[in-house]
């Protein structure tokens, strides 16, 4: 049994060490896998704020992941074709700058999360799960049927977007960038968890009536958490799009929402670095099992079933001595 802080350092250290070793051994594919894990971890950390701390079981976080991805796709596709996004009433040009793209991804996904959250949070429990799932599916169908940006086929971006001072096409440099984003997100979420806001959020998860009777506006509290959670997942979507240099409606699919949840349960619900461990394990399974069998999802399903039924707390929970409440 280890203190959780040590486990966190161990997880992040491993995630950092793998690509460095791969660099030394000249295995760029492994670096890309580690980058994918770091990016998906950001999405999971975002969802974990709502799901783990807030107890808001959102099955629609693919919506924000997709909005972030399309923010990148739309901005970069206009930049690569030298056509403005709009000219009236004022001119908006595309961009290849990651910083601008991230900002747009965060703001756009926060806005979508605000709309979806404002409606979904009028319900609770199993309704909330179904409603968030449905709104995610709505955006999926919209992305498929809206022809302007590739429709069902998606959009390809030929050159990765730029970041000042870095060659983003170099795998290890791009990994470093994504890893840095992950660290910043973890730092911010950790601050939030310990702040009065985080204490109130988790308190309302444990006992909603109690939170209300001490004067906390639970709806606004949860909506705020939901929006921040969506914005972080949106940022992850923009990074994921840049990693693949491709966006498609698949980013919006219910399956993506399920996967982001799976990172959390594999790693440990409401653990700061749970989604990091979960995303890394997921990528590892995908790579190892996917190499063994075309039908690796059967094994993934079996593992997931086992963790849910018999190993609640996931990887971090299994190693740590601190107990946390399970979301519900």
């Amino acid at each position: 049994m280890l203190p959780e802080r040590m486990i966190n350092l161990l997880i992040l250290g491993l995630l950092l060490a793998v690509p460095l070793v791969a660099l030394a051994m000249d295995e760029p594919f492994i670096i890309t896998l580690a980058t994918k894990a770091a990016v998906l971890a950001v999405a999971g950390v975002g969802l974990n704020l709502a799901l783990g701390q807030g107890g808001l079981v959102s099955f629609g976080h693919a919506a924000y992941f997709g909005v972030g991805g399309y923010a990148m796709g739309i901005l970069a596709s206009h930049a690569q074709s030298y056509t403005p996004i709009m000219e009236v009433p004022f001119l908006i040009e595309g961009t290849k700058s990651m910083l601008v793209i991230w900002l747009v991804a965060i703001v756009a996904s926060a806005l979508v999360a605000l709309l979806v959250g404002a409606l979904s949070l009028r319900t609770s429990g199993v309704y909330f799960i179904m409603v968030t799932l449905a709104f995610g599916q709505m955006l999926y169908y919209f992305a498929i049927s809206w022809p302007a940006y590739g429709g069902e086929d998606g959009l390809s971006i030929y050159v990765r977007n730029g970041f000042p001072g870095l060659n983003t096409l170099d795998p290890i440099q791009f990994f470093g960038l994504c890893f840095a984003v992950l660290l910043i997100v973890l730092f911010v979420v950790n601050l939030l968890n310990k702040s009065p806001f985080g204490l109130a959020l988790n308190g309302a998860h444990q006992n909603e009536e109690r939170a209300r009777t001490v004067g906390i506006n639970v709806y606004r509290l949860r909506l705020t958490a939901f929006v921040i959670s969506g914005a972080i997942t949106g940022l992850a979507g923009a990074l994921f799009a840049d990693l693949n240099r491709f966006v498609s409606p698949t980013m919006f699919s219910w399956h993506t929402s399920g996967e982001i949840m799976v990172f959390i349960i594999l790693g440990g619900v409401a653990r700061l670095c749970g989604p990091v461990a979960g995303a890394a394990v997921y990528i590892l399974l995908e790579h190892v099992l996917g190499g063994l069998s075309e039908y690796w999802h059967i094994y993934l399903g079996a593992i997931l079933l086992f963790v849910v039924l018999f190993a609640k707390g996931g990887l971090v929970g299994g190693l740590s001595r601190r107990e946390v409440r399970h979301a519900g």
Binding site: L192, S195, Q206, E209, R210, T213, G215
Partner: protein, 252 residues
Amino acid sequence: MPDEVILDVRDLHKSFGALKASDGISLDLRAGEIHALIGPNGAGKSTLIKQIAGGLKPDRGAVHFMGRDVSALSVAQRAQAGLGRTFQISALAMEYTVMENAVLGAIGQSGRTFGFFRPAMKDRALLDIAGAALERVGLADHASTVTSELSHGQRRQLEVAVALTLAPRAFLMDEPMAGMGAEGSRELTGFLRELKHQAPILLVEHDMDAVFALADRISVLVYGKIIATGSVDEIRSNADVKTAYLGEEDAA
């Protein structure tokens, strides 16, 4: 002003289908008093408390608190205005420590729910409010105990402490004695007798000994109507109350 009306409930009506849970209830709570609300099971006590606290919207009628109509306010807004509440079944964040529960109260009262970056458990102002409340109820020694490990009686104390962090102007207490041993009940009785000078208490209680020992006034609720309000002696000698309520108890 000892007779200042703090909480004023005016002509509340609430029906569930054909059942009239509140049938024109009026009562008030004055500074410095304990006003006990008694009545047989199913008389509509819980429904009334919920309407006063803001969790249930009455069909008709109004609630005034500190001279202001709070009928349109939510539970959270009424708490912010200084209405402290304790529950029949402890409503606490069970995974939190005793101190964290008290800090939660302090956060709500200070309106700092949207403080994002300073750690709550290192915030002097919040810790001071929470610590003082724990001190008052005698839980200061258990500050770092996880709430789920508290005894039943200690949870009731913590309920009161959390309510205290709101610096309330009135308390709504739903059966604070329920499930407590004789010793605990006696201690709590002494505590409430002192607490009422800080803020008056509207007390729902089944323990008749405690009610008669504590209450300055008693209202008797039967089938959604208040059939009598008065001092302990007046209620004891009231014929209607005897037949409707106390008589049953004696017979039982």
